[in-house]
Subunit: 358 residues, 4 copies
């Protein structure tokens, strides 16, 4: 970084357009850090941001929020960078919702209201509180799955309030949904229905703890679930895919006295419809939760310990691997085009001084 | 009861029709009790049942689910009868949801799928577990408010997960909503907005702990709430009135990281609409809860202790008083016609042997 | 059972003495069932009851509380019998503590204040609420581990309030402690320290999810734990062995803002000592929990689903196998004498009409 | 402050000795504030610190942790200063325990490991996150009760997990215990036993929601409580006084399936004794909690709203009033000597530019 004042990054130029741009290296405040990427992954939400305009128009905003990196100012430490980097002193943080610090979804900063991580250098606020040391026994590629996929998927299972032996349905088994399956399993679920259709995802879902696959191509998923449970329905539902209409299915397949946890980004539609009758005319205790993942250092440390102890293998999510920062564009286009065998691509960036930087 | 084999009661004859009928006195199983009424109150849901056909058609089903009574078989004890009388061994009860024992809303038996309490005699299942002794220091009329109004209203505040010092909005201040105001206050709320318009209800709301009245006749309630809170919104919302569209208002007036608790019976509409954007595109942690009140003996005992200790005065809810079982018809028609000064009518029934029965 | 009026069972004759006795077959009330055993297991607490007089003197009380059986009145169903069979309508049950129904530990009836299951026939209260159907895909021997070992061990992990990625210490790895290790793992723990010394138990602990073994023969366990965690201590502790002094160790090895869950039966000592200073002079938020396992039908169904789905293998606990009711005496003596290779013995009883009984 | 570089404060000179000293005005980091006092109150723990050496020896450490003040750098805002000022990004804060940020009790900084508030100027870390604006409708004297007394007393009620209608016992009714009574009442308790003996405190306890006074001079408090509850005991206990032996009383007077919340600073004794038998031989679900109060801005705002809305009147706690910073010494000596009519003294400090400072 010596002498450099600018950096290049892969940016959203406007809705529907991406390109490499050159920007000033960010300022580094007293609590902050500047980081260079070691491993990056694009997220479906990056494609929503660019090609669906999901968060509105942005100009020359560098993309990306999944990274493992190395601190260049000040340090040399290799770190896991969470997608969500809260302001820890804010009102919402003090109330237990740091992901909404400063306003709803305010913990989500990268490629939302500041430049993202697909860049030579990126800025991290409250670095001590938000960056977790990368354990020596975890590869950067595997760790980058923690930034968003693992924490978001597991949060779906947390929101669904899973208890020992619960029968759970996970709707959607892309990378987040697969992590919701794993999360449900880690929280003690018994039978886990995974709703999906792509062969590779279904196979991986079974490896992560699913016990039954429900293919929506075989008929209405509510009917399939009710049939498979002798009409009782499931104890809990995690929504990790679908759209605003998915909640009605969840309400219909779940028992009274239950919880539905959503972590799917709902990009379209005016309303989520909750069916009045099946929701117990307002009194069925079918609790509906939806929330952005927690972030920050401790969350990353806790989830990383599941990899370190061999209890979670995130490498199964990685179907495509690239080398070099410039390949993040290919990785992003792959995410946009979604070939059938894709779960998640990863880009690894190497540096000559990776192991000697101070 | 000696020698009698039948009893009269005020029944729904069919949708839109009520009348007094004569029925066989119910069988009394080994865990059950037969009870005669000491105080009765009609509920808005009785009028929905009859005139809106809200639970479908019923023929010759005796109405009513709010009662204080006296056990005639076997005993003489004066008891508070909860509207919700669970089957305590059922699957749902073991999972913590006794109000749904045997199926969604299954704890609600009176005037739903068995005869109600507007009758000379009524039957109570699992009597030891469901009937609470009427404390000597509480009048039957005041205690009958516990059967449904207090427990339901307070459950709204419980569902909204109220914490010390929270700013709360209670939408709807009929008798249940007033008890949600009181419940919010008993659970530690600071500022409480009560949304209503009738003068008498507004006055009583202030006595039960409301600090601000929001009159929907003065404009959009969401705008009024946001203005009164400097744009921040409230911490929690209790819905105790309105309809399926009320949830959208609740979502719009509440902070991220919050809870909405509904105890309003939603009689009409296909769907409850949750606005996608204000619900944080699925990720705002605006938890949505709706549930039938808990019932049973211990719930009644706990709430009765608030009256015994002088911390809750339910007599403020009672605006109209009647004497004699036959007057329950007048009380019910009052509930249907809702004059402006009505909050809740009560019917008191006296017996010569009320204090000597064994 | 045709024509028989008496049954034989292995009983505590008095403190320190056991023997086979002949007793009248129990009465069967309207909600009850009579059951014959298919699989039985003795528990360490049986040995405490007899030889330590832990619950006081008992005369001619049949022993045992771990059973899988077959209903002989009325049915033929094969069922899992929980050690804890609550009275579901009681005050404590309504408050969420069915294991204490009717008074502290009141859900524990078998071989405590009524005859146990080491008998030709035994009685079960509230049979529909307390007996779970034995799934066809689970062996009776494996299922009998659910009665007490699995549910108690897992409850220790529940009491310790384990969250995703927590570092946990489980003190004691007999059969209950091994199930606490498994329970901690099923609830999302990352690193799990298992404190024990017997080789076979340590090996099995690693298979159930432990990541580190702490052998108390190698020095003070608090020092070992602190050293292994760079002085930070653990997030949660489960106590499944030791004595009244074990709590001081737990308090010393745990972080502030944490939970200690005990499921160890404390047979001796006047007091449990909580060290004032390490407990934060009363203000360290080191929450101390200790509780009897939940029981009943739903609990058994939930835990059984972990076996059915292949997520929990209880057969690893079974080190010694016997055939025939009379062998329950040998099994019990084994439990008393505790050879080094013992984890848990099981007795299987076969009947000619096992698969045809109605 | 213009031109001044030093300030005077009332300090602990060593164990058993206090005096006024002159110190350098503290440095003010980028997130910090310097504040001058408007209202101060001494705490019993200040007397423990000095005369009992409860936190060890300290030299020239300015005392005091209860203050309302005015920011002199940078601002002029009048603010409530919590006794507990966490570091919000720390590991413990991220886990939900900010009062232990940086280590057990680490949120307690004033007069513990940095200078306290009995000073012309004091320093506050993370000022935006830790200081709450003093509402215009609350007097500084009333607000200073929020710094420690209200928040600590109420936290006792929170730790005891009080639910609607619970029967509660509060042991100790000094200022913290009185606020535990009020807190229990604000959280929905029904019957509240207050254990104390001083007439004035007992009277005030009744005004804050106690329904029964238990005077330990009239006999064993456990026996009195059991007698008053027909042998059932209470649902919850808050410990706000006594010593290490008080826990045994709490365990003996409480039902199984219950919670004990301690906020009493335990200054002496090696161990807290939990009686094995009454604690259900380790399995009675009598949960034991003890914790330092939460602090920070949002906590203060929430509790202040209870005063603003007229739901909590802290002025009843104030029995002695002083004017001028130098009188804090008299106030402290009063706290040490505890005359019978003392609950809490307050010192008010006025400035000429109090309403014009920017």
């Amino acid at each position: 970084m010596e002498g450099k004042t600018t950096m290049k990054g892969l940016a959203m130029l406007g809705i529907g357009k991406i390109g490499w741009i050159e920007k000033k290296i960010p300022e580094c405040g007293p609590l902050d850090a500047l980081v260079r990427p070691l491993a990056l992954a694009p997220c479906t939400s990056d494609t929503h941001t660019v090609w669906a305009g999901a968060i509105g128009d942005r100009h020359d905003m560098i993309l990306g929020h999944e990274a493992v990196g190395q601190i260049v100012k000040v340090g040399g430490d290799k770190v896991i960078v969470p997608a969500i980097t809260p302001d820890w002193g804010e009102e919402e943080s003090q109330r237990g919702y740091p992901m909404h610090s400063g306003g709803m979804l305010g913990g989500w900063k990268f490629s939302n209201f500041k430049d993202g991580v697909f860049s030579e250098i990126f800025h991290v606020n409250e670095a001590d509180a938000n960056l977790a040391l990368l354990p020596r026994d975890i590869k950067a590629e595997d760790a980058v799955m923690l930034s968003d996929m693992v924490t978001t998927g597991f949060h779906g299972a947390e929101l669904a309030n899973i208890k020992l032996g619960d029968t759970v349905c996970v709707i959607g088994i892309g990378p987040v949904g697969l992590m919701s399956v794993a999360g449900a399993n880690h929280l003690g679920a018994g039978r886990i229905f995974a709703v999906g259709s792509r062969k590779h995802c279904c196979d991986i879902a079974m490896e992560y703890g699913a016990t039954d696959i429900i293919n929506y191509k075989n008929g209405d998923i509510v009917e399939q679930i009710l049939k498979a449970t002798d009409g009782k329905g499931v104890d809990k539902v995690v929504i990790a895919g679908g759209d605003v209409h998915t909640f009605a299915q969840a309400v219909k397949m779940i028992k009274p006295g239950s919880d539905i946890g959503n972590v799917n980004y709902l990009g379209e539609g005016d309303n989520i419809d909750i069916p009045r009758s099946e929701w117990g005319v307002g009194m069925g205790h079918k609790h509906i939760h939806g929330g952005l993942t927690p972030g920050g250092r401790v969350r990353m440390e806790k989830l990383a310990s599941l990899i370190s102890t061999g209890k979670l293998d995130t490498s199964k999510l990685i179907t495509h691997r690239f080398e070099g920062l410039e390949k993040v564009e290919d990785a992003l286009m792959l995410m946009k085009n979604k070939p059938a065998d894709l779960i998640k691509p990863v880009v690894r960036i190497h540096y000559d001084d990776e192991d000697t930087l101070h």
